[in-house]
């Protein structure tokens, strides 16, 4: 039991370090949020100006913006490590590999949560969608979605951190794996916004939970191999 507590402490130390560096220097957070806002704006131009159509498409647009911005955010968190070969130094510390994964994923989760909340707000405004009424299920969906994207993103960012053509390979490898999450999140969001007419919301949230659990376990179990050289 103490070993798990030690690993948790290490994961928190890594996430804390990422948070300080992120807030203080990188401004990745701000740029990612603006990127998501711009993507939403473009969706408006692409599908607008018919308000009804936009409102109908809102759940899909919301999650597309989150996923695309999420790729940038997770990538930024790992760039933080490669400035001065810090990633290699991190791997040389005598700490459990899954603790490193947990630390990086935790940082990713925090960024994704903030991103999700902001994009949700923007969608509410831009596409005139009443998010107030169903804020509970929507929050749950955003939290579960954030966990999934952070879990998968941290794995693939670690896999491609020293890879050639990394900018293309990260989305190319990551997006197909996120398909079930995108699908579940959009359906859950749509159900929540419509007041869950068919009672499907519970099922979609369960799908998201299953995806998150599987991907976190898979990521933690294999992240160590990505640090090998």
């Amino acid at each position: 039991m103490t070993e798990l507590r030690a690993e948790a402490r290490i994961a928190l130390a890594i996430a804390h370090k990422d948070a300080i560096a992120e807030l203080r220097g990188r401004h990745a957070m701000v740029s990612t949020l603006f990127f998501a806002a711009v993507v939403l704006l473009l969706f408006g131009f692409a599908l607008g100006p018919d308000a009804a159509r936009l409102a109908a498409a809102a759940p899909g647009l919301l999650w597309l913006a989150i996923v695309f911005a999420g790729i940038l955010a997770v990538n930024r968190l790992h760039l933080l490590e490669t400035d001065d070969d810090a990633f290699e130094q991190l791997a040389l510390y005598p700490v459990a590999r899954r603790a490193i994964y947990a630390g990086k994923a935790l940082g990713g989760f925090a960024v994704m949560l903030l991103l999700g909340a902001v994009v949700l707000g923007a969608v509410g405004i831009l596409f005139a969608v009443d998010i107030g009424s169903a804020w509970g299920p929507l929050l749950a969906t955003v939290v579960l979605g954030a966990i999934g994207i952070a879990a998968v993103g941290t794995f693939y960012a670690g896999l491609t951190v020293r890879l050639r053509a990394r900018e293309v390979m990260l989305p190319l490898l990551m997006l197909p794996v996120l398909a079930p999450l995108l699908l579940g999140a959009v359906k859950a969001t749509a159900a929540a916004l419509a007041g869950d007419p068919f009672g499907e919301l519970g099922a979609w949230l369960q799908l998201l939970v299953a995806f998150d659990v599987i991907m976190v376990v898979a990521g933690a179990a294999t992240y160590g191999y990505l640090l090998e050289d």
């Binding site: 197909p176 079930p180 099922a203």
Partner: protein, 237 residues
Amino acid sequence: MKTRILGFVALVTVVVVTVIGLFVVPPDANQGDAQRVMYPHVASAWLAYLSFGVTALCGIAWLWKRDLRFDAVALAGAEIGVIFTAFAIWGGMMWGRPIWGVFWQWEDPRLTTTALLLALYVGYLLFRRLTDDPERRATRAAVLGIVAAIDIPIVHFSVEWWRGLHQTATIAAPDRVLDPAAPMAFVGTLLGFVGAFTLTWLYLMIRRYQLARAEADREEAARVERIVSARTVEAAR
């Protein structure tokens, strides 16, 4: 030599089942001749899933035993898997067009899952080409193959739900639904195709494995040769 025989047997069985599939077995009562596309389509889809299962298992075996021969099998599985995935998608489209009138049927979980499969494993193959060190490539490709294989059932399950959580499984389709009481001939032909294609798959896997091993051995020999020459030069000093 045994492989050559396997190859010949595979060729003969494929020709035989093709003739049966195209000409001998009667067309489906509802779908008519279009139903004949099902045979190679289903056989290809089965081999796509089998191939990626092999790749994932070999990935685990490499991480455990660190023997590069598993990596060669994993590579063969991924490459041949991508090819059968492409065939399965093509078959799905050639079947969908006459039946639904559209090439791409979003509601069909098999089609959408297979498409994601293609994306996953084209990514796998591209990733392998971008990594040079044989052992580092083997380790990372193994992990990639395992995560991709874990993702496939989730994708299939979620697309299954996506189609309609509470509607009945049958797709609300025009009258041309496959005749449920398919006579034995269809099932027989389908099994024949699966058998013939699996033999072909086995033959191709062995050949691709041999090729991967030949290339790995050549690479290995070059590496060792450079080491030996460095040592002889030094020793002569």
